[in-house]
Symmetry: D2
Subunit: 292 residues, 4 copies
């Protein structure tokens, strides 16, 4: 076999430094023969059309399989490899990725928190105000889990009110004080299934958070999708984040937390939020730690 392969080869045919291979076979005569074939200018492409895939994720993403929040390309670092490494392509606001929203993420009437014109806060080259820079030192505070549907999940499209939060708070045995972080369990994973619309916070629930002066919101649910309030389609994002300046942890995973809280009979904990120290972004992946 190797004999066949070697006999077939062109290694050496155009010298040891050749980079053109069989393209060396294209001579003036080949070219003349080729030009003679172009008589009418009718052109046919031999390439498949390329439909680019959108990197957009989340509730407003195009239909079809969801874009992954993180993509990985393993890097070549020699033979044998000196080390193993990768490039990651990250879309922070993908709902499959637990992330911390910066205050600038949602504009209101051309302005962002605390009333800064959008064009001043964000430019094509980056964010100048209200970005993840505010989280660069980490956040350490008390977290309290309010489980809205213990051992169950909220009904589809359920509009969560302040009264619901009151009831869950009573069950928790703790009172949320100013500066505490509110951690909400609704028993849901992100869903784009029209038959299973996500429940979510109402304006009334956000008013409750304002009254209690919550510092950070984290939840397995956030804004309902589709919206349950036509006037304020995204209360948690448009009021909580943009107006209150209350950072949101989107897509938190709280099942294990609920189990541990139930087991310990304790729904309050030390909450450490320390995303990569990335400045100037609108969101950043995070791994919040509840420490008991």
């Amino acid at each position: 076999m190797t004999d066949t392969v070697d006999r077939l080869g062109n290694w050496g045919r155009w010298g040891p430094d050749d980079e053109r291979g069989t393209l060396n076979l294209i001579t003036d005569e080949t070219c003349a023969r080729a030009l003679a074939e172009a008589r009418t200018g009718r052109c046919v492409s031999l390439a498949k059309p390329i439909e680019p895939a959108s990197m957009m994720g989340g509730p407003f993403a195009p239909p079809g399989p969801p874009s992954p929040p993180v993509q990985q390309a393993m890097l070549y670092t020699g033979t044998p490899p000196m080390g193993l490494a990768e490039v990651l392509v990250v879309t922070p606001h993908n709902p499959g990725l637990t992330h911390l929203d910066a205050l600038v993420h949602i504009p209101v009437d051309g302005h962002v928190y605390p009333g800064r014109p959008l064009a001043e806060a964000v430019t094509p080259t980056g964010v100048r105000h209200g970005s993840t820079t505010a989280f660069a030192d980490g956040v350490l505070t008390r977290g309290v889990l309010l489980d809205l549907a213990p051992g169950d999940r909220l009904p589809p499209a359920y509009p969560v009110t302040g009264a619901d939060l009151d009831a869950a708070e009573q069950r928790s045995g703790h009172r949320l004080e100013p500066g505490d972080a509110l951690v909400v369990r609704g028993g849901w994973n992100f869903s784009r299934d029209p038959a299973n619309p996500m429940p979510g916070m109402t304006v009334d629930a956000v008013a409750w958070m304002r009254q209690r002066d919550i510092s950070v919101y984290a939840g397995d649910i956030g804004d309902a999708h589709p919206s349950v309030d036509p006037q304020v389609p995204l209360p948690l994002h448009m009021i909580g984040l943009a107006r209150l300046g209350m950072p949101l942890i989107d897509g938190a995973e709280v099942e294990e937390l609920a189990e541990v809280c139930a087991e310990l009979g304790r729904y309050a904990f030390l909450l450490s939020i320390a995303p990569p120290r990335l400045r100037g972004a609108t969101g950043v992946p995070v791994n919040p730690q509840a420490i008991f």
Copy 2:
């Protein structure tokens, strides 16, 4: 409604330049309250696990929906936008993308065409020999379409031989001369379906190309997948590309070409191959033009 929203807001509460929003609510007292909750060091993550998606495509890609060859993120360029633009993430060797393989793409026994040690030709920071640099000026030559299954498609897993190419050449009415490009139609789209294994070139077919001194190969089929020859699993890539130094256009679209050739009764044409003038890559997307 706007009244409710304004009443709820914190715009101005911590001054016009504030970037920390409700994080300002976390005081020393909040912290003390929080630390008091950390008694055992038991830690619970509130983040969903992130399974990165591999960017690898092609016959050896992981099972599941195929990675897209080109991904697009539309760029923010102001409000209103000054211009529309995007970032593209491209994996050139994806079989859904018509691309030109550089000679360095496939190594043989630690060497690449024309016998250069791999470690010398490729480093972790790029390609030094045998890259797309060779195509930077474009390629202009005569192309001849050999249709292996006119009006039909080859059987699954069919091993194409030199005799098959001879027969198709006779049907074409042209003879392939040294320097010509061979364009092959098998009637297939790339398939990873085990019930529909791709047909492909045998060593014998590649020997035919060597004998005719083909300069460039383009086809809707290439190497069979799975392989039909255990000794040389990828004859077109391992011998044609790596040993002959014959650039390959993978994943060509030739249906429209076959129709035009049939309509004109002419299977030869001017072939212009002018990929983006990218140096130092192992492959590059291309839109080959057959001009009549």
Copy 3:
């Protein structure tokens, strides 16, 4: 040495399948010792701040070294590698990259060519009208080189008029007919140096192109930068591309072309423009071929 290394190792200490290494050393006691250190909640980050680099290029890019138009990550494909491959990150409108602008690239008063509302033509997930889809089959036409500064370069900030194009056309010995491509040489490379402002086309020059019914513009110069006309800062893009619907090849390389034209005494040629067959983008890298 190897003895030292082996003696030092933990391979096997926590079994053959262990993935946690020395993290296994963290016991309940370790944790208790650790928690005892957290007394005040004062937090210090041990991470360097990350300033992300903007991927934006071009005249409006941030100061500093320009972003590269194409970035390459060599991919790991096994040890030894089965093949060499890469991921490319591409920003098509980077001025260091010869590219073809789609008609949608520049909006005018909230509309794009031919008068379609921007919000209808472009969505966050891609372009629906006026994209590179129009170029997917390639463009084949006659090109004529107008050299505005033979053997020299235009003065900095020079405003090119219709009269300049007339004079160069006379020198060329050809007359541009409807459908021809105009290829312009100004003798410049893209410059952001304030001491060397780019020359560029005026509204008058674009009116000349409209009068001659040019189909495609390609040039080593385009719009002046900074602008020479406060009323229409980018005549070629805002009128030529957006209003005339005339695709632009930005950042063409025309030095070799000018030499060949001078050598042959012929300033007209077959121009083949066949960018990757990418649909739905606002721009795409291209390698235009002048064929004599």
Copy 4:
């Protein structure tokens, strides 16, 4: 002016749905005129050569300005934007980025921790053993800062030994116990300046860590660069990470930490390490928190 612009425009000339603009001007006659110009097949490219930039960073990166560890493209999400978002391209092992090395990052003789064959642990599509999956739940332990050059920095190329760590430990007033994290300050930022070679750990220093059963290493210095030991060029990575299975935090920022420790007279703290919960990677950005 607007009159001029409107008069110049082609909006409507080829109907309201046109996407081809002035390409409509290319007729059969244009084509014939064009083909007549192709007489010899001499080809000239009008595209600038594209030199792709390598995404590789770190000590072994190509000369030139360093690649940024994180690149950001601001995303278009409508006019006005619905939200602000971005795509990030991240190279975790860039020395300008504080990151946590997974055990698989450095292979030794074709194997990775704890003795698993490399080809089994890593495939072109991702990492199967020894990845960041081990860190997904976060790490909580006691950290002790050993300041090797209080108020100063280590001399260039200084080889840190076990005796140096002993001396610093004595100054700290703490003793490192099994499971503790070692945090090292050498007073350096990453440097590739040949006149300022980085100091780093010797095999002797790593043996000290093994003896004390350190669980995690974090430092503003790591391995010397260039190497100070020809036999083991990277003791911390090749022995500490690969043999001991001791995760490394590369490129930690410890200046503020050293100031706080000095101010409090306390060099021990609660250390919380909670990188994004990314599975299957070789490294991940992290923001370690020292809590007092």
